[in-house]
């Protein structure tokens, strides 16, 4: 409650007409950002904790035969606020041979299929595995053509999250092949931009 109250209060504050429209001095505008950022940071931390537990199977009948010998873990997830600037430490820090768990939550009251883009700093062979469908997922690794800040990732991994259930999640394992197995995976090499010649 405390975290959500803080966030509600911060959003309430920035509903002030000067905050919404920017009709304030620069330092006041910066202060609005600071208050909102503080509240969002604690809300993101809360979601990361709560979300992990919600991912574990609830209905113990069907899922038991899969999970009886799998240790139940307090999984903590993180969010990337500058995701729209292609900045995400969780995926950019992945090294060859490492795997990240990427979960996507669908807040709509209907199932949806949508592409997911992950910022990566390395263009090693990447494979995406859908835990729900127990199958590899087709993915593209592109040179990022919109690096708006120094921290923006040079590469974008794009894959499609199929049929993510309403108010539910889909979980993917994103694995960077290590040097030894790089040649074996069918994962795509990075797709580079081709300059379009000036019309003759």
């Amino acid at each position: 409650d405390h975290v959500l109250f803080q966030l509600t209060a911060a959003v309430g504050l920035v509903n002030h007409h000067d905050a919404i429209t920017g009709t304030s001095k620069q330092h006041v505008a910066d202060d609005y950002v600071k208050i909102l950022a503080k509240a969002v940071t604690s809300a993101e931390a809360l979601i990361g904790k709560v979300y992990g537990t919600s991912l574990l199977p609830q209905d113990h009948t069907e899922s038991d035969k899969y999970t009886k010998d799998v240790p139940v873990l307090p999984t903590v997830f993180t969010m990337c606020r500058l995701y729209n600037e292609s900045v995400c430490t969780a995926t950019q820090s992945l090294q060859a041979g490492e795997t990240a768990v990427v979960a996507v939550y669908n807040p709509l009251p209907r199932a949806r299929t949508q592409q997911v883009t992950l910022p990566l700093n390395t263009h090693a062979r990447v494979s995406v595995f859908s835990v729900g469908e127990t199958a590899l997922v087709t993915s593209d690794l592109l040179a990022n053509q919109n690096q708006v800040s120094a921290e923006s990732a040079p590469y974008s991994l794009v894959f499609s999250a199929q049929n993510v259930p309403a108010l539910g999640s889909a979980v993917f394992l994103v694995r960077l092949a290590d040097k030894s197995t790089a040649s074996q995976t069918d994962a795509p090499a990075v797709l580079k931009a081709e300059k379009v010649p000036v019309e003759a």
Binding site: T23, S24, F77, Y83, V101, Y105, F129, V131, T134, L173
Partner: protein, 354 residues
Amino acid sequence: GPHLTVSSDQVSVTFNSATGLLESITRLDVTGAEGKPLTAQVSQDFAYYKSFGSPGIGNTATLKDTRDPHLKNIQPLRDADSVNNQPGGAYLMRSATPEEVPTRLAAEKKVDLSVVRGRGLSEVHQQFSDYASQVVRVRDGSPVVELEWTVGPVPINDGIGKEVISKFTSNLRTGEKGRSKCFTDSNGREFMERVFNYRPTWDLEVYEPIAGNYYPLTAAMYIQDTTHDQQLAVLTDRSQGGASLKSGEMELLIHRRLVVDDNRGVEEALNETTGGMSHYPDWIRSGDGITVTGKHYLLLSSVSDGLKEVRTLMDELYLPLVPLFSAEPSTVKHFEALATTAAAAAGSAENKVN
């Protein structure tokens, strides 16, 4: 060749190789008139309006009287001088002269193009100027043309404040008796009809033919050509100003960098950070200027399906999939074991997670 086309399974976009600009959009999953795929000629470009009262338009002597020297030789608008002197600023957008044609950011040069073609998406990178670029994306499974624009820092070394717009021009006929018509949302809910230089509830006297036709968007605006059963919508990722000044056109105000205060109380130009240009009084603050990036989503539809498609897309844009991450070894192991167990149970050995 003369054109460059990128397609997804639902939409294809053609660029003109000579100008580097968008040229047409085709819905591969919708049949238009004469049984052909729904197609519209659509171009997009970045430009800016000079902001009223910018000292750079004349010499800095005009600083004392922020009246725009342009207006000296134009019959003053029918207002008292006090309004004529109203500069553009944080509270209001006012272009330098009523008849102003916005200045292209690409000036006269060709917009450079580069293409990346993937299996599930393709994207075209456009470089308009050293402070404006855009990535145009088409993705499998979606009829939307995604325009990720990046603008800034906007140069003000000419002393001119700039109102930067993204302008869409199409062959849709969207007006009656020369008055263009568009629809803009109200807080993401009801779409209101907007007619150029017209208000439904009083006889409008036009003082600002540009700014007076801008309306606040929270989510989207669209134009309709009912004769040809076509609708073109632009969805935004934040609140912006939007207008349709001519038939078939839509323009959105995406970035502003002004150099004078608008005398409405902020006492600071809508500029970024502090600093100061040596020959300007200290109340003009120059800064590094900010770079802004955002997305516009272009959706070509038939009129009959138009609003349903816009609403569905609004849901997906404003309640996007939320990605959460964990690289903790214990978490990875947990989900790998889950997947392996499920794969074994499903008997599909080749799916084993290696």
